[in-house]
Amino acid sequence: MQFGDTEDRRMLSDMLRRFLAENYANDMRSKLAETQSGFSAEIWAGLAELGIIGALFSEEVGGFGGAGFDISTVFEELGRAGTVEPLLDTLYAGGLIADLGDEAQKELLAPVIAGEKQIAFAHGEPGSRYDLSHVETHAAQTAAGFTLTGAKSVVGNGAAADTIVVSARTSGEVRDANGISLFVVPVNAKGLSRKPYAKLDGGNAAEIALDGVEVPSSALLGPLGCAFDAIEFRAASAITAICAEALGAMEQAKDLTVEYLKTRQQFGRPIGKFQALQHRMVEILIDVEQARSAVINAADHLEGDRLTRERMVSAAKNLIGRTGRRISEECVQMHGGIGMTEEYALSHFARRLILIDHVLGDADHHLERFIALGKSA
């Protein structure tokens, strides 16, 4: 088995790690928190130039990769460096455009891959929690196109996006998988309003209100009422990405903590000499390795059949949710007070690991999903 580890991917990850190590300082995140987009325009341009955005997309749409392992390779490094740039949202929204777009729509991706335009996927709603089929926002067909009405919540990169992919119901009941359609909507469309805000772990999001937004027929992305399968597939790739990001964050939290246990002296010796901490550090190491394997499983099956893919993805998100919490809490605890300070890098990774569980389904959600998928296997 290769576990996705090819020469090309190793070069990609080395290059990205070097770039981020040189350009991503810890104090940068707190400075970025003050800005509207919550992320760095220079880093974004740098990532585009290095081909990192392109690595998330296939050659067909102007990228250089797009496979499960390309995605996990990139996101592990992003997680390790603690970046807050909106690559996840780019992958999610961009993936849908790549999979479903007609020629004109696909052209939207070139400036995205070049780092010139920002995109987001507005799917979650105030009542949807983690349910991908919960869509109340509706699209009424008109002579000229569609009228969108509804509310979208916690839309990642929603504050910075130029173009938003919006899901809306064209038929069926609130939680039906059938009847969901996608639309490509520019943010300046009349009737679309955003309430932008910062996320606790960096980057931006927005609440989006759609108050009778009129879009032309050409805004429809993919077939009418049949977007669910594509959404589920792209959610799977986004989940693989965020799990890989969590893995990188775990590695970093682990490394910081091991280093601290070796240097912090109390009672006349390094605290790492206390067995009460040693064994817990070992548990963390095991957790990280388990997480790595779960990410490999997900990435490896991303292009496979639906049932296997979805089980692997839910398995990974559940395992990452559980171990992410444990690692976050244990690393802070074993640091003592210093682990809670904003100034010290660990606090970012601790926060990120917890909040990743609140994106694209938490550990419980994916546990129940894994069980349900197992029944239909």
Binding site: G124, P126, G127, R129, Y130, D131, S153, V154, R175, K195, Y197, A198, K199, L200, D201, A205, E207, Q265, Q266, F267, G268, F274, A276, L277, R325, E329, V332, Q333, G336, G337, G339, M340, T341, E342, E343, S347, H348, A350, R351, I354, L355, D357, H358, V359, D362, D364, L367, E368
Partner: protein
């Protein structure tokens, strides 16, 4: 036990809280908004007027003289009513130390000023190099005529930005064994050479500080007890005055709030509270809390009958903080995607920003992150375990 009518007491407490708390304070506590200095002072003054500020002081010093059961009832009701917590450094720490080890002049001067709010105390124990190993502290006080000259640095000092007095452990004998050269010194923070610098924590708040001392001259009258005996006094405080350590009131109120949130949040078209997995998690922590509340009462009874609490306080600290953290964890999970926005700022005073998501979600993550401190400060969980394994199990 005693002749107190606890039901009547509870009724009286409820009635008082219902009248005394302003909407502003209640709302801030309910939403988890940061408390300003003025907010703290408002509640402090109301309690002092009522005579209910010093719940663990004897009547002769202006305390309530309540027994353990009354204190527990008050704590539970105050938390349920969304009353702010009383900052512990003056009332729960400095007061008992003065009453036990202070001289008459010190008692007469300091105790009334704790009550009337003139003095806001903070606790200067920890240093960058002295956390769990507190006795290795280095801040030194050198006698110079009728003053001590203090040099060094304290850290993690909670709410020092509001305080005007700090009680410190300082090294007065650099040659003695480490526990034996420590003294307990009271320092007026307006003295030249004292500097407070804020530390930002991972929840975005600045509740802790560094406190620096540069040739700070402290009158010798501000020494508590004997020179070089400070460690004994500090230890007394750790084992005897941990009235609130189990946090039963907080856990009880937070669990009730969690259940209400779980009723409002929907999962697959049903209340989250009806999801068997989530319901089980809430039930387990409730079961733990019920047992711990009784452990707490058992300890209170033991103390009332004249026995020293001993390791029970370590046990209650470990279990009590675990339960509080578990409830915080379930609360942030309950709010789902709305745990992610940095939404507390929007609700804060003076900001007219619109709320993001349901109001109960705004502080869920912040509280969860902030309360990671519970198992770190006041003797970490690891340190408490070492105490128990040594002194109870004899390992």
């Amino acid at each position: 036990m005693s002749s107190v009518d606890y039901d009547a007491f509870r009724t009286e407490v409820k009635a008082f809280l219902a009248n005394a708390l302003s909407e502003n304070l209640k709302e801030k506590i309910r939403l988890g908004l940061p408390m300003t200095k003025a907010d703290h002072e408002e509640w402090h003054a109301i309690l002092n007027d009522k005579g209910w500020l010093a719940v663990n002081w004897p009547v002769e010093y202006g305390g309530t003289g309540w027994d353990g059961m009354q204190r527990q009832i008050y704590e539970i009701e105050a938390c349920l009513a969304n009353a702010p917590r009383v900052v512990p450094f003056g009332l729960a720490m400095m007061g008992p130390i003065l009453q036990k080890f202070g001289n008459d002049t010190q008692k007469a001067y300091f105790l009334p000023r704790i009550l009337n709010g003139e003095h806001w105390w903070c606790q200067g124990y920890s240093e960058p190099g002295a956390g769990s190993d507190l006795a290795s502290l280095k801040t030194k006080a050198v006698r110079d005529g009728d003053h001590y000259v203090v040099n060094g640095q304290k850290t993690w000092t909670t709410l020092a930005q509001h305080a005007n007095w700090i009680f410190c452990l300082v090294r007065t004998d650099p040659n003695a064994k480490k526990q034996e050269g420590i003294s307990f010194l009271l320092i007026d923070m307006t003295t030249p050479g004292v500097e407070v610098r804020p530390i930002e924590l991972l929840d975005g708040d600045c509740e802790v500080n560094e406190v620096w001392f540069d040739n700070v001259r402290v009158p010798v009258e501000n020494l508590i007890g004997e020179e070089n005996e400070g460690w004994t006094y500090a230890k007394y405080l750790l084992t005897h005055e941990r009235t609130n350590i189990a946090g039963v009131g907080f856990s009880n109120a937070n669990l009730i709030a969690l259940k209400a949130i779980a009723q409002k949040e929907q999962l697959n078209g049903q209340p989250l509270a009806d999801n068997p997995r989530f319901a089980a998690r809430m039930a387990e922590v409730e079961i733990d809390l019920m047992a711990m509340a009784t452990t707490n009462l058992r300890t209170i009874a033991k103390v009332a009958s004249g026995q020293a609490p001993g390791v029970e306080s370590s046990m209650l600290k470990i279990k009590g903080t675990e339960i509080r953290q578990e409830i915080d964890d379930l609360t942030r999970r309950a709010v789902g995607p709305y745990a992610v926005p940095k939404s507390l700022d929007a609700l804060a005073e003076g900001n007219n920003n619109e709320q993001i998501g349901p109001d109960y979600a705004a502080s869920a993550s912040v509280k969860y992150f902030n309360n990671r401190k519970l198992t770190i400060f006041g003797g970490s969980t690891e340190v408490q375990r070492s105490i128990i394994s040594k002194s109870v199990l004899g390992l």
